[in-house]
């Protein structure tokens, strides 16, 4: 694989649609993003905002009746759109890996963890024999911090605790040392005490393996701590993206501000949190104008127009016509 100049992952105009009984649902609407080599991109949004679907689409894991289209989809200089199914399959697990929200459901209950880790290595020719694959699997389990890894290879997922299962899923995803890890809500299913451990583990592995990470979460606190850049999604669209510090300190979109305001904070515990009023519009009945209109405190009559993602500065984009400095189009 040649290391091309430019971002590791480049996505332009990604749209994912589902034909449902109620009509066409556009779960991901014209999303563009990039992930640089070694970078951690935080993706934030409520449930149903399309953040997981965006990256399932990138990996080619959307099933019918889902339809994915994109203007460009480049991974490490390779045009993924031009690859056939076998080519895409070779990327999955080898170069781009994903961990899912709940390891309990993501690991197959019917197979030992050794089987589930070794099969990735064998599928991508990273191990010549079963013996070699087992040695590598044990290595991976040690790397993610499973105590007595060798003796636990032939255990089944249900024999591990929640935190350990999450680690095994990470070990499975990282078995081939991928260039990009998509961590989809890696901590949502875990106890608070374990959450930090798993996040630190991902951060450590990122440094150690030199991979890029996409951290999908609804927790801005997690993003503030781990991500280099943040992308905020709302109702299938990117509403704001930029460097983490900028987004946290000077959010330009009212939705981002709302997310920050409803974060509980130890220093401001005496201050009540401000939940965002209302709820995400139904994907079957999206307004033609700004999708945040109904919930926005600052909405005015001029907001009743479709809004594009506009640059506030070269590395900070926002989808709000009232954001200061946004070039009105």
């Amino acid at each position: 694989m040649t290391a091309a100049a430019g971002p590791l992952l480049l996505v332009e105009g990604l749209t994912t649609e589902f034909a449902t009984r109620g009509g066409l649902v556009r779960a991901v609407d014209d999303v563009s993003l990039r992930v640089e080599a070694g970078e951690c991109l935080g993706v934030v949004g409520e449930s149903g905002s399309g953040k997981s679907m965006t990256f399932l689409s990138v990996m080619g894991l959307v099933r019918p009746p889902g339809r994915v289209s994109a203007r460009r989809l480049m991974f490490d200089g390779t045009d993924v759109l031009a690859l056939d199914e076998a080519g895409k399959r070779a990327l999955r697990g080898r170069d781009i890996a994903i961990t899912m929200q709940d390891a309990l459901t993501a690991l197959n209950p019917a197979f030992t963890v050794a089987t589930q880790i070794t099969e990735v290595l064998i599928a991508h020719n990273r191990a010549a024999s079963m013996g070699e694959a087992r040695i590598k699997a044990e290595e991976m389990m040690r790397l993610v911090g499973i105590p007595a890894a060798a003796s636990r290879l032939d255990d089944y997922p249900h024999q591990f605790s929640g935190g350990m299962r999450q680690r095994i899923m990470i070990a499975t995803a990282l078995a081939c040392r991928p260039r990009l890890l998509i961590a989809d809500e890696p901590t949502t299913a875990l106890d608070v005490t374990i959450q930090a451990q798993v996040l630190d583990l991902i951060a450590d592995l990122r440094r150690e393996l030199g991979m890029s990470v996409v951290l999908i979460t609804h927790d801005l606190g997690v993003v503030a701590e781990h991500a280099d850049r943040v992308m905020v999604m709302y109702a299938g669209q990117v509403v704001e993206d930029g460097p983490t510090a900028t987004i946290i300190d000077r959010p330009a979109h009212p939705y981002t501000r709302g997310l920050i305001d409803c974060m509980p904070n130890l220093e401001t515990l005496d201050r009540p949190v401000h939940p965002i009023p209302g709820q995400v519009p139904s994907p079957l009945d999206l307004p033609p104008h700004c999708r945040f209109f109904d919930r926005c405190e600052r909405a005015g009559p001029q907001c009743r127009v479709p809004v594009a993602l506009l640059p506030l500065s070269p590395d900070h984009g926002v989808r709000c016509i009232r954001a200061e400095g946004a070039a009105h189009g």
């Binding site: 070779a90 990327l91 999955r92 697990g93 459901t105 197959n108 899923m169």
Partner: protein
């Protein structure tokens, strides 16, 4: 699976089997009609003769005592003499049983070989023409009476095309030493390939007649459990690992989807053993089913009683085997 648990589970079968034997005993005892009268028939017999026969058969003892006598004999495999054959019931059944077991096993294998791939394919190709044809086909398979379907097969393959024999187990010319009583095995053990082919040709149609309705059900079960499993996160995760589609579907999904199939297959096999009376009659298959039909018509109660008990025990054991298979398929299920 731990041996201790296995023994515990086997011990747990004892009360079930005891209950079954109580029911069988009561059924036979409480059935209208006095066996002594039946045995003596129309012949003029004195009350003394009648009482002597009653004493002779142990029928004058209290019911509880008779039950334990029956139980003790049943455990030793003694079910008395067959009225018709004038030989021990256990011998008569023993001669016929292998033919039925053989037919059942072949039917079971055939139905699994047909049902599992078709069920998986129907799930993967959900709502396509293949799936719809499969649905109609399985509906037909379920609703067609076995004897009628068997006759159709005979008419087509034996009478019209002449490819397969009409009835029986094997040609008269074949002489095979008795080992298991299952001809497909015995012919191979004897190294008689020609006889094996002959036996296989004979078993094909009756086995197919039994297998197709069962395959129809198993296919539906496999399809629906497969559809559910295909939506599971672990299938998506397996795909995300870059595994081949064959491995994702054939291993990750199928192993989890097979549990309902195994349950239904075990239940269906139980009813095959009992329910193949019609098919054995249609195809002149000298198995237990035909023996029981003959026994019922000739009021050969010792045979019927032993056969009913045998069917019940088989059913219980098949369910036990299904339980064992669950633990192999899903390690979370404990015995």
């Amino acid at each position: 699976m731990r041996i201790g648990r296995l023994i515990e589970r086997i011990a747990g079968l004892v009360p079930v089997l005891l209950g079954v034997s109580v029911i069988v005993f009561l059924m036979i005892t409480l059935t209208p009609g006095d066996p002594v009268e039946i045995m003596l028939g129309d012949s003029r017999s004195s009350p003394e003769q009648e009482a002597a026969l009653r004493r002779d058969m142990g029928l004058d003892r209290p019911m509880v005592e008779r039950f334990f006598l029956f139980l003790g004999n049943a455990v030793r495999g003694e079910f008395g003499l067959s009225f018709f054959h004038r030989r021990p019931v256990i011998d008569v059944i023993g001669e016929r049983l292998p033919a039925t077991i053989e037919l059942t096993l072949v039917a079971l294998v055939l139905s699994l070989v047909i049902a599992i791939p078709l069920g998986v394919l129907a799930a993967v190709k959900k709502n396509t023409w293949f799936d719809r044809i499969g649905t109609v086909g399985s509906l037909l398979g379920v609703s067609m009476p076995g004897f009628w379907f068997g006759i159709l097969l005979i008419l087509l393959f034996s009478v019209k095309l002449g490819w397969l024999p009409v009835a029986g187990r094997i040609g008269f010319s074949a002489e095979v030493p008795f080992v298991t009583g299952m001809l497909l095995i015995d012919t191979l053990l004897a190294g008689r390939l020609d006889s094996f082919v002959e036996a296989a040709r004979h078993i094909l149609l009756p086995a197919l007649t039994l297998a197709l309705p069962m395959a129809a059900i198993l296919m539906r079960v496999t399809r629906s459990s497969m559809l559910e499993v295909l939506r599971a996160d672990y299938v998506l995760f397996a795909e995300a690992k870059g595994l081949s589609r064959a491995r994702v579907i054939g291993r990750h999904a199928l192993k989890n989807a097979l549990i309902p199939t195994v349950t239904v297959a075990a239940l269906e096999t139980g009813s095959l053993l009992g329910g193949n009376m019609i098919v054995e009659t249609v195809f002149g298959w000298p198995g237990l089913g035909r023996l029981v039909v003959e026994a019922i018509f000739s009021r050969n109660y010792p045979i019927v009683q032993a056969a009913v008990l045998l069917y019940a025990v088989t059913y219980v054991l098949l369910n036990f085997i299904a339980d064992l298979l669950y633990t192999a398929l899903n390690p979370r299920i404990k015995l």
